[in-house]
């Protein structure tokens, strides 16, 4: 179904999922403005917002099913398989986080149903970011997402940690936005265009000027902040620890995924001609990120903080796929982010169930002996850890394998080796979690008696765990989907690697 994006109706069609979700967010907002008193209202708002995600998924599915594509130039928003795939991924993350949040918020005494519209708006921002075909959309999407997440990070405002997390995230995030914006300005200055395709064509035609290089560099810095690449990562552990746990999950998966999708698109469509310039940057970032993330995670005692560092390391792994700059790389980004998001959501879901109201963050030692009391939860968390580790038989392994393949097929061996060194280090902090839960005895009689694992969350987590194992040994569906031509980004034909 060709869509003319220059006509208003075409634009509405192309933005249908985002529009639906935004409108629904407003509807929910209206509802919560009217009723925001007790747990029942919280639950209703959550359920309502889930409906919004379902609408958006349906719209995305419809567009994908009809084979929507831009007639002529993609103006403002991309219309390709990659956008639909990334939208689907982001929507599922948002939905899952919503499910995890419902009971958790009530239990923590956070009775403010504005949470859900904000989550939806953040999702809209993510979708815009991931689907943008124009630097303006990119910036707007980024800011919509960021501003919503700033609020969400500080949502538990009665806790100082949450407020502090919001402040840190906000200040450094705004600072980073400045860099990104300056990069956009310089890129605009160098080409006179905001549209990805047009800029790409411009760069392909002329050698990069100083302004173009600086512009690209600043945009890369902006993204490096969002994906929490070292040395732009420093906010992540603090914010992850301070933010409400479901929001941590949301940031670790959704925000990161959206940023990666956008970065992949920008590198593939805007800067393909400068591949020789940005590859070394990614190379260095990836190595430092993988090593610092994994090493620092070793010395953590708080689970959330440990997972924060681990997510930094995973950002490093993902850069392998971006470095590859190939269809395999794109497929790897999709698969890896899916695997990573499933695993992380499940892990945070289980952690959220262990947290007690108002208590400090869950420490590694708090998990000791969990298996004896909660065998399934601890088995689930163990499987998550193995999947994050990239252990064969789990979905995480499939993702990691694709990443390594993508890089190796481009003749790059150093990054995969460093990635595996990173994995080897990471066993040093994933394994103790398994060890604490399954092999150590409980500290006290009363341990783990306060765990509340509400049914919706339990089902969501169970589905995630099942998916981790199923796709670990039967990844065909996912792999075939991700390696279809239709979900790939338009890669300019370039002389790359030994291929």
């Amino acid at each position: 179904m060709p869509i003319d994006l220059s006509s208003p109706s075409g634009a509405v069609l192309a933005l249908l999922p985002e529009l639906l979700l935004s409108l629904w967010a407003l509807v929910v907002l209206l509802y919560v403005a009217w009723r925001h008193r007790d747990g029942y209202d919280m639950r209703t708002a959550g359920a309502l917002s889930l409906l919004g995600y379902i609408f958006a998924v349906a719209a995305t599915g419809w567009l994908a099913w009809r084979g929507a594509h831009a007639e002529g130039l993609s103006i403002m928003i991309a219309l390709d398989g990659f956008r639909f795939a990334s939208d689907a991924l982001l929507l599922w993350i948002a939905g899952a986080v919503t499910i995890l949040s419902v009971r958790w918020l009530i239990r923590q005494g956070i009775l403010a149903p504005e949470y859900y519209p904000l989550l939806m708006l953040a999702t809209v921002g993510m979708m815009l970011l991931a689907g943008s075909a124009d630097l303006i959309t990119l910036f707007l999407g980024l800011e919509v997402m960021s501003i919503s997440v700033y609020i969400l990070a500080g949502f538990d405002r009665t806790r100082r940690a949450s407020a502090e997390a919001a402040l840190k995230y906000f200040l450094i995030g705004a600072f980073a936005s400045g860099f990104l914006l300056y990069g956009i300005a310089l890129t605009y200055g160098a080409t006179g265009q905001f549209n990805f395709e047009l800029i790409g064509a411009q760069f392909a035609a002329t050698p990069p000027t100083l302004m173009a290089k600086l512009g690209m560099g600043l945009i890369l810095i902006g993204f490096a902040f969002k994906v929490a690449a070292v040395p732009f990562h420093a906010w992540a552990p603090d914010v992850y620890e301070g933010a409400p746990t479901p929001i941590t999950a949301f940031m670790a998966t959704g925000v990161k995924a959206a940023a990666f999708f956008a970065l992949a698109r920008v590198l593939a469509e805007v800067f393909p001609a400068m591949v020789a310039l940005w590859r070394p940057v990614l190379f260095g970032l990836a190595i430092v990120t993988m090593l610092v993330g994994n090493l620092t995670a070793l010395s953590q005692t708080s689970m959330k903080r440990m997972l924060a560092y681990s997510s930094i390391a995973h950002a490093g792994y993902l850069m392998l796929a971006l470095w590859a700059h190939s269809d395999e790389g794109t497929a790897a980004v999709l698969v890896y982010l899916l695997a990573y998001s499933i695993t992380t959501v499940a892990a945070f879901g289980i952690l959220a169930s262990i947290e007690r109201a108002g208590a400090r963050t869950v420490l590694l030692t708090d998990l000791e002996g969990l298996f004896a009391v909660r065998p399934f939860a601890s088995m689930g968390l163990s499987i998550c850890m193995l999947s994050l580790l990239g252990f064969p038989g789990t979905f995480g392994f499939i993702g990691k394998w694709l990443l390594l393949s993508a890089a190796l097929h481009q003749g790059q061996a150093v990054l995969p080796i460093v990635a595996m060194v990173g994995s080897a280090i990471s066993i040093g902090y994933y394994l103790p979690v398994v060890l604490a839960m399954t092999l150590k005895p409980t500290r006290t009689r009363q341990a783990h008696q306060t765990i509340r694992f509400p049914r919706p969350a339990r089902i969501a987590v169970a589905i995630c765990i099942f998916a981790i194992m199923l796709f670990g040994v039967w990844p065909n569906v996912v792999l075939n989907f991700a390696s279809q031509k239709v979900v790939q980004l338009r890669q300019a034909e370039l002389p790359t690697g030994p291929r």
Binding site: L386, L404, H409, L439
Partner: protein
Amino acid sequence: MAAFLASIGYAHWVIHVLLALPILAMPVILFAPVKSARYIAFGVALTELVVGIGLWWAFDPTRGGMQFVTDITWVEGFGIGYRVGIDGLSVLMVLLSVIMLPLVVWSSWRGIDQKQRGFYALIMALNTGMLGVFVATDLFLFYMFWELLLIPMYFMIGIWGSSNRLYAATKFVIYTFVGSFMMLVAIIWMVAVVGRATGAYSFAYANLLEHADLLKPWGGWLFTAFALAFAVKVPLFPFHTWLPDAHTEAPTAGSVDLAVILLKMGTYGFLRFAIPFFPQFALSKTVGTVMATLAVIGIIYAALVAMVQPDLKRLIAYSSVSHLGFVMLGIWGSTVESVQGAIMVMVSHGLSTGALFFMVGMLYERRHTRKISDYGGLARVTPLLATAFVITAFSSIGLPGLNGFVGEFLVLIGSFGRYPWLVGIAATVVVFSAGYMLWSTQRVFFNRLTNPLNEGIGDLNLRELAVIVPLIAAMIWIGLYPGPLLRRTAGAAQQYVEMVQSALPKAALPDPGAPR
């Protein structure tokens, strides 16, 4: 027998049944009543044995290459397949695994008194993993089995192990995982290189082997990656320090499986993958000498260290390191004799060390100590156990007429042509091995019975005899009449040596088979 097996289509389903049965039994065991767990496990183990033992007849040693081959596409487009097969290099390992399974289950009958369901379920998972490693002919599949094995072993050591179990379990997993992480990069790299050149991306072993020439430019790196994984598993000096801890802390079944099967996966990996893929590098003069030297250092070093161990299980663990050094030496000896010998050492080390661990386990069940100094003079109260232990000890130190000798002798004589000095040094281990084995035997079973706690312990019961006697019978049988085993591996060994022949530098001594 062969005709009967053919009539039931044995060759078509045997591997699948062997792989699927234990893993399918796992949930059954987990959800069955606690009391019945071990019975189910034993039943499955026996079935596995009955099914697996048919390989002895169904395997045709005269045919080269893989048999019982299955090749089913698994992940299309990525060249991953469920590819399995058995050849002369693996047939004995598969047989050993299925034979050990019922013994392992049976030996845990009384010793495991808590969390039985989990234990037997893990044994089942372990068995599938072990078999999988030996039958996989797809590198992706192989890597999966290779790593998956760590999980059941980890829990087995971690939950049912003795006092220092957490340290040992962690060390085991981290050591092995860190060792093998580079292998994944190497495998993908190989597939990428071969795929780029031939246009077909495939993880099939045969495909990669056929185009091994294409890998030559990166042979050194790739071999190193593989070698690291396998060397840790073997374990080759100096990567061995996980083994004493893991062996010592694991429950009997774990120790036995570790010794009998898991260690062999390393040497099997060298024989199957690391060397055939990169013979020019692996067997070059420098690398060959380094590896053979490490093997010999391992042989002597471990024997010496074993001598002074105060802990019986630790002692046997170090003796394993020593024995596996022989396998490595034989592999790098690269003659038909030495390779055959290496395979024989793999089998006989499995039997004798397995039996030793079983017996130490039986002692442990009685006295709850592994310290040698806590024993002494047991021969008077447990004559059967003492007899079995002495026979096994002598089998372990390579007394001719028992199984240990066959392999060691073949390894040494086969490797002598290439590494006369190293073999000469390695052969001195006959003294040291006798030293640690006899000394420990003496301190446990002979001398005066001084500790009154040892007075009351009972001799082997029928169940324990049923575990030990088949092993001892096998030791004597292999020691005196190893022909059937040797013939089953002869073809594969011959083929292997021919395959790597071109890469071999000239031996130090001329071929004794040359016509004169």
